[in-house]
Symmetry: C2
Subunit: 451 residues, 2 copies
């Protein structure tokens, strides 16, 4: 068995230095939704890769650039690491205890926008490489990094980038951008991501807002049109009414159910963490809740906006209304197909006036839980975390894993430093520094064993 | 026939002075929605009344104070004039060509927030009194002013104020706060106002917003709950589904229809001014449109808000959603009754989670088109405007006229200086100075003939 004591000692003794580098990375705003700081951040990532002897380049896309880096190693095996340098908008600012782009360490945690999602995941992996290089002088295998800048805005240009760079990105396995431990401190291996089809539905009924005393009885009202169109998509029974919506849904297999059975029942956790009084669809917990949570597609209203939204009353008939709607997709649903069916449904229901703006989509993708690379990552985790990694065959979230799985043909595994209170996408986003170090150490094992 | 040449000459020669006084009044912000400048403005109104020899007082209410003023005249008849000193918020500021609280005269118009709604209506009436006093030394009848400060926030405390001051407010006729000419420059006599019941419907489904990847399949979504609850109120057929909603509706009489027949068909005007492509309910114009516009009750969504409303996509399941909804009421619907029926309906439909916040209401009120005071105002208008005043038995808007009509037992007439491009409640609110002078002159006729 390999002795990791020197590598681990190196990691421990360089922690402060590594966290300083992470702070500089977090301090660079890189908000893809607002096209803010992306070029500067891509340049910073390139420099961070070059510092480790990677040949790095900034590749233009029709959106934010992709940073690609590569360093050869001893074996001819290649590990591809996927990360993103963009972050969510920091608003609402008033809810942060320290400024989002002035990272701060308090009580063993570092706070800042993007520190968990996904900046520390990049630096921790670089720190694992630092430790190996310091002790061994070279990498045991080839490592490639693909670091995109549009993950928080649906990775709109990533799929094309991958299709245009299949040779460059060729590899044997892929490590995903995130991962972490659950509320019991047990590391999780997430092996499937749902797909997504994100749309904005909007309607303009008049050329201007009108006093509701005039228009209420005789003019079309944008807010009503939107309300009715949305209600035609899904009713209180939670069944999505778009004809053909469920056609391509693949049910979970018995093997999926075996893995799901082993996972904890989160019903009570959800009740206390999110204030859920009653689950929908009559769900109460157990296998039913676990399976429903991740193996069914959804239609979620993420936002509504129309007319007057300030304090008190304003008697106005709104000319415009819009809704953000995300459909989470399961295998083998395809976003383009859902989009077509959505348009056909709205037309058939008399909602030709509702415009659909497609804001991004990816099909679901899964990695076989029994793949050898999965086993390698899961087994090496136990050395670090002192307990076995849970295999989660599917999670509810989405990400651009489809082209990695289907275009590049890679097993995609998750490992990382996340934990339930990491507050990704929310104020006071943070990482736990103990988990940071554990992830660095776990990465060194995975790289060396994989080689 | 009375000779008005001296009175008119006085009005013409004092125009600039009068407009300067109006400017000082407009320059005093008095935004009831923001509780800004109300006391200062009430004090200013009191001083303006006292300047004309009125005994004036500032009466506290549970909201903004009411200014009451009274001056005795020769006859024992009493005219009550209703105005309000509060104004709408000036936002959006960037759309104003000159600052909203720095009134400015350009091309025969004065611009400023509240200049039309309702400040010039007060000063023009005071200027009519000035002219009569200058020529005759005393008033021909008693005149009382009631000037409230919450008209733009649903006059929440006015009804109680009136009920508590029935003796003080005793009169024989009432002149309403507004009035004016239509797009053909023809003066309008609006004799009925619909009632209103304004509510905010809101729902909280979770203790915090949740990533839609986690919650979409299993947690209740506030935006969906609100959407479904709203859809239960009214469907695309525009029929309001609250049981009993239409129970108390009084249909227009044949006499109402006679008056409505004489009014112009505004279908084309609405198409071009508001960009209406198709009216709802299959309406096309003519009598059907005219009657539907004002004699039917409505359920209007004035605003919707939930979750993420910024650019691009955010995958969030909203914990909170709310809608502003106004019901316009016709005789004899009552807001308290509608509120009860709304609650019962939501409960019966399974929407106990929807909270109702009542933001204000008043029943509809009408004045008989054949009342002698109406005839007096209508006939005297012809001398000033060189064309007959249209009698409009009912309009779509609402106002606190119910206690004037039903508690004080007064005929309520409208006359004023408004015109279609006056932009009340909107940026660049303005008055036409020619219409200002006409209204002052019209007022002198009404006061003298009424006496």
């Amino acid at each position: 068995m390999t002795d990791y004591s020197k590598i681990d000692a190196y990691i421990d003794s360089h922690l402060n230095e590594n966290l300083e580098e992470l702070k500089r990375y977090v301090a660079q705003p890189s908000i893809s939704a607002q096209n803010l700081g992306l070029k500067e951040c891509a340049q910073l990532v390139k420099e961070m890769l070059e510092k480790r002897g990677f040949k790095a380049e900034i590749n233009a896309t029709d959106g934010a650039p992709v940073v690609f880096g590569e360093r050869k190693g001893k074996s001819d095996k290649t590990l591809l690491i996927y990360n993103h340098y963009d972050v969510q908008p920091p608003e609402p600012l008033e809810l942060w205890d320290s400024p989002p782009f002035q990272p701060e360490i308090r009580n063993g945690k570092m706070y800042g926008r993007g520190v968990s999602d996904d900046k520390a995941h990049l630096t921790s992996r670089l720190n694992a490489i630092d430790a190996i290089l310091a002790e061994e002088g070279e990498l045991p295998c080839n490592i490639k990094f693909i670091v995109e800048g549009e993950e928080e805005t649906a990775s709109v240009h990533l799929h094309d980038y991958i299709k245009n760079n299949l040779d460059k990105l060729k590899a044997d396995a892929c490590i995903w951008e995130f991962g972490g431990v659950d509320h019991r401190e047990r590391p999780q291996q997430y092996l499937g991501l749902r797909g997504i089809c994100y749309v904005e539905l909007s309607v303009t009924s008049l050329s201007t807002d009108v006093h509701s005393g005039i228009g209420g009885s005789i003019f079309p009202n944008a807010a009503w049109r939107l309300t009715w169109a949305l209600s035609s998509l899904k009713g209180p029974d939670e069944r999505i009414r778009i004809p053909g919506f469920y056609d391509d849904v693949v049910q979970p297999t018995d093997r999926d159910r075996e893995y799901m059975e082993k996972l904890p029942d989160l019903a009570q956790e959800y009740r206390s963490r999110y204030g859920v009084k009653e689950f929908i669809k009559g769900l109460e917990g157990g296998m039913e809740l676990k399976v429903e949570e991740v193996f069914t597609p959804t239609c979620t209203i993420c936002g509504l906006t129309s007319g007057y939204q300030g304090p008190g009353s304003k008697t106005v008939q709104p000319a415009f209304a819009s809704a953000k709607v995300d459909f989470r997709l399961v295998p083998n649903q395809k976003p383009e197909d859902i989009l077509k069916k959505l348009r056909a449904h709205l037309d058939a229901e008399g909602f030709q006036d509702i415009e659909i703006n497609f804001l991004g989509g990816e099909p679901a993708a899964r990695t076989d839980p029994d793949h050898p690379f999965v086993k390698l990552v899961v087994e090496s985790a136990e050395e670090i975390y002192d307990m076995p990694m849970d295999i989660v065959p599917m999670v509810g979230g989405s990400g651009p894993s489809y082209p990695f799985v289907h275009d590049l043909g890679l097993p995609v595994v998750t490992m990382g430093l996340g934990y339930p209170e990491t507050r990704a996408h929310a104020p006071n986003e943070n990482i736990r520094i103990d988990l940071y170090t554990q992830h660095v150490k776990h990465m060194t094992r995975v790289i060396k064993k994989f080689a």
